[in-house]
Symmetry: C2
Subunit: 232 residues, 2 copies
DNA sequence: GGAGATTATGTCAGCGACTGCCATTCGGCA
DNA sequence: TGCCGAATGGCAGTCGCTGACATAATCTCC
């Protein structure tokens, strides 16, 4: 959904070439991944150091020693490089959701998948140690920057559409007919966002366990919140 | 929340001057409102006619015969002029929500307020007849434009925060302590957005009643969607 | 291992959004 | 009428982003 170079005009990355049997990526492919990651890295360093708005694309590009034009062939805009790692994490989550057992009801499946997803983010498997604390810094930065926040929310919304499709498929429903998948996906997104907000508000609990606990707390409020009289 | 000139640097509009006892707005004030509305009008005409991206700020400004610089004193960016009328409608909704009777439970209050709000939009009271069909065109345009959609979602999210505060106040709760207001506000936002999407998808039902019916249908799916097994 | 087809990269020119600065004009008010 | 503050205009400049074309690197196949 977002792991690759994306909306850029000529798409420098993209699946391993036509001839390559997907066995080994090939030199060209490896180089592309390399520059992509270098760009993300440099961008994050600069963003966190001097702020998103005060960092120009030229700075990022020359930090990696490529032209500005090349930067824009990897990322459609400045926002995208900032949100790239989150986008990757979201893709990972979707994969996990798809693999949840079919017997689980939708809400349980989503909850389990998101928890798994944060666990994985904390494990040493992921590239770049300290992904979790970096994620926190990123979320903080996003929350502080209107432009970034807008772009992030758009991404998240798009992801909700995908979640709705997955849920509908699991239950054998047509999303155009039955509103429940869409509604439940939206509700799920809401709970997540509320949890993210809490996480960035409290500066404590930076580990993945802290986030997981927060997510579960918010999930647990869903029933009570929807129940009739709160003062009862 | 967004009815006035906003985040612009020097804020050309703003409450009636210091000396003015708020009785009559004064010429200066009237002129400002006038240019503001003229800008919004011209912008919408151009956007709907030739597309958002293909309309330059210069075009909008010269259509109203003001300088580009002046445009940016009224609106912080091109997005804002496109979303201005929606922002006003949202403010109206918040006002209605505040006036709902205290006995209603939160979800009922929100549902009633949003329905009222759309009714009002359809009534001849509002400026510019055909506000509703214009709203539909706007939502369509927003949905088709990534940048606009992002900006819109940010606005909507900000509004959710306000809704959560209002709900918390109604129930005498502290939003920092009790997660329920935040969660329910988010859920409400989700339902609305899902309804908006349906509205722009189906091209029929352009009247306010069509939208109201859609909103209620989505609300009604909330319970079933959250209930355990969908196949039961 | 080299010719030729692909594809990534660099360079350049240009548009459009947005901002700071200063001069000018206009409405409010004594 | 004349002063004050606020709104406007004009201008120069930065930055994000794009199209077009030339160059250089990789890949493919013989």
């Amino acid at each position: 959904m977002a792991a690759q170079p994306p909306p850029a005009a000529t798409d420098p990355a993209g699946g391993s070439g036509p001839g390559t049997p997907a066995g080994s990526p090939g030199l060209r492919e490896r180089k592309k991944q390399q520059t992509r990651e270098a760009l993300i890295d440099a961008a994050h360093r600069l963003f966190l150091g001097q702020g998103f708005a005060r960092t120009t694309v030229d700075e990022i590009a020359s930090a990696v020693d490529v032209s500005q034009r090349t930067f824009f062939r990897y990322f459609a805009n400045k926002d995208e490089v900032a949100l790239a790692v989150l986008a990757d994490a979201e893709d990972h989550f979707i994969g996990l959701l798809r693999r949840r057992p079919a017997e689980e009801n939708p809400l349980r499946a989503m909850r389990a998948a998101i928890v798994e997803s944060w666990r994985d983010l904390g494990s040493p498997l992921r590239t770049g140690s300290g992904s979790v604390s970096r994620a926190l810094e990123l979320l903080q930065m996003i929350e502080d920057n209107p432009t970034l926040l807008a772009a992030h929310l758009r991404r998240v919304t798009e992801q909700e559409r995908v979640v709705a499709q997955v849920i509908a498929a699991r239950e054998g429903l047509d999303p155009a007919e039955d509103l429940r998948p869409t509604v439940i996906a939206a509700v799920f997104g809401s709970v997540l966002r509320a949890a993210h907000l809490s996480w960035t508000a409290d500066q404590e609990d930076t580990g993945p366990e802290g986030m997981i606990a927060l997510i579960e707390r918010h999930f647990d409020q869903l029933g009570p919140a929807l129940a009739g009289d709160w003062r009862a």
